[in-house]
């Protein structure tokens, strides 16, 4: 199996690569269009800022490439947010794969910190991405913006309000948390993605 991690101007790419290595999978990190299109599995990671990342993808034509992929694709954190239609982060039009919108967390009182940093539950789990993962398992989150609940929500997390901690449409999957940093639960989710045909 040929697994590609899309290279762009975002952080955490190495962490995803190493997490795959721990599962015995040697992935290739590349921005080569042909290699991405031919891959069996594509991972679209990301820690960073939405408008800068979208600008970078557009400059290289990677936006259209990602939109038209037919194999299983997993967006992680910013990767997932970029797969939505729109992000409030610097008023950014995104890839439009998921119709859900990305909004800024607005704390209900001063004791609530933004960004959310730490371990939180994922619940109402759907699809094979969460096969063998218990309801309300903990995963690691670092984010100031969230995808609203919608038709494509396959996992829900509560922070200020319930939001989409994972999305799914056709061959596209996205997770807001970092499976590569979420201990055994995260490893199970990455393995499940690799098992999706």
């Amino acid at each position: 199996m040929n697994t590609i991690i899309i290279q762009y101007n975002a952080g955490n790419i190495q962490s995803v690569l190493y997490a795959l290595e721990r599962l015995g999978v040697q992935a290739l990190v590349t921005d080569n269009v042909e290699l991405i299109q031919k891959a069996d599995k594509v991972i679209f990671p990301g820690v960073g800022e939405a408008s800068t990342a979208m600008h970078y993808l557009k400059e290289r034509g990677l936006d259209k490439v990602i939109q038209h992929l037919k194999q299983p694709v997993l967006g992680i954190c910013l990767g997932m947010q970029l797969m939505c239609t729109y992000s409030e982060e610097n008023d950014t039009t995104c890839l439009g794969i998921f119709e859900e919108q990305v909004k800024l967390f607005k704390p209900s009182d001063a004791s609530i910190k933004v960004p959310q940093i730490g371990w939180n539950n994922i619940g109402q789990l759907k699809t094979d991405l969460f096969k063998g993962v218990a309801e309300n398992s903990f995963t690691y989150f670092v984010h100031g913006y969230y995808a609203a609940l919608g038709a494509h929500t396959i996992a829900t997390t509560q922070y200020i309000q319930p939001y989409s901690s994972a999305l799914h449409k056709d061959n596209f999957y996205g997770v807001q948390f970092h499976p590569e940093k979420s201990a055994k639960v995260g490893e199970q989710i990455i393995q499940n993605f690799l098992n999706i045909s």
Partner: protein, 252 residues
Amino acid sequence: MLTKRIIPCLDIKDGRTVKGINFEQIRDAGDPIELGAFYAEQGADELVFLDITATIEKRKTLSELVNKIAHKINIPFTVGGGIKTEEDVSVLLQNGADKIAINTAAFLDPTIIHRFAKNFGSQCVVLAIDAKCEEDNNWYVYLNGGRTKTDKLVTDWAKEAVDLGIGEILLTSMNHDGTKQGFALDITAQLAETLPVPIIASGGGGNEKHFLDVFTKGKADAALAASIFHYKELAIPDLKQFLNKQGIAIRL
């Protein structure tokens, strides 16, 4: 529900953990990679690796060590010690560190906070503050591993750093560090209640009750400790079970 975090801290010197430890479950407790993996397995929520290597020359091995840690460990980790430039940060992040911690360098040149936050994102920039309560009952910032006093109040410095883009604050009370008599609840709560970033409390954790207090009375988002974990005085699974029973949101 977002949980409170328990963070073991490993001091690294010349690529080895300092403070002799002897766990039956692991072969080499001086090996930061093996010890880190052990804590991750035990349920630590994050790890902090603090490099206290004296010479710059030997520090270059830090990035290699970070790379090995990143290969092995499946939870987030922060690296601190002697970080001054964008290049320092970039190398550590590229080798797989999730966050970096800065202290003295940020105080001497606060513009690095803004530059680091802009280039790498606030979420990966942790400000470590060594704080000491003086006779006048005020908390002051200390530098150079607690050797140099400044006239800056901790509350002022923390606020400035947040405005410059720091993502988290690791607050160590020098009055409490090493005492095992409990965390500095007042200053921790003061920062946690007034600042929009998470506060990691450090210094003084000696038993389960101290951790309960720092999360309830101290309002901390996370608590860091070293020797009580290293010397097996408190096991992370037992600590987390206790906190859970006391109604603290914790990852089990």
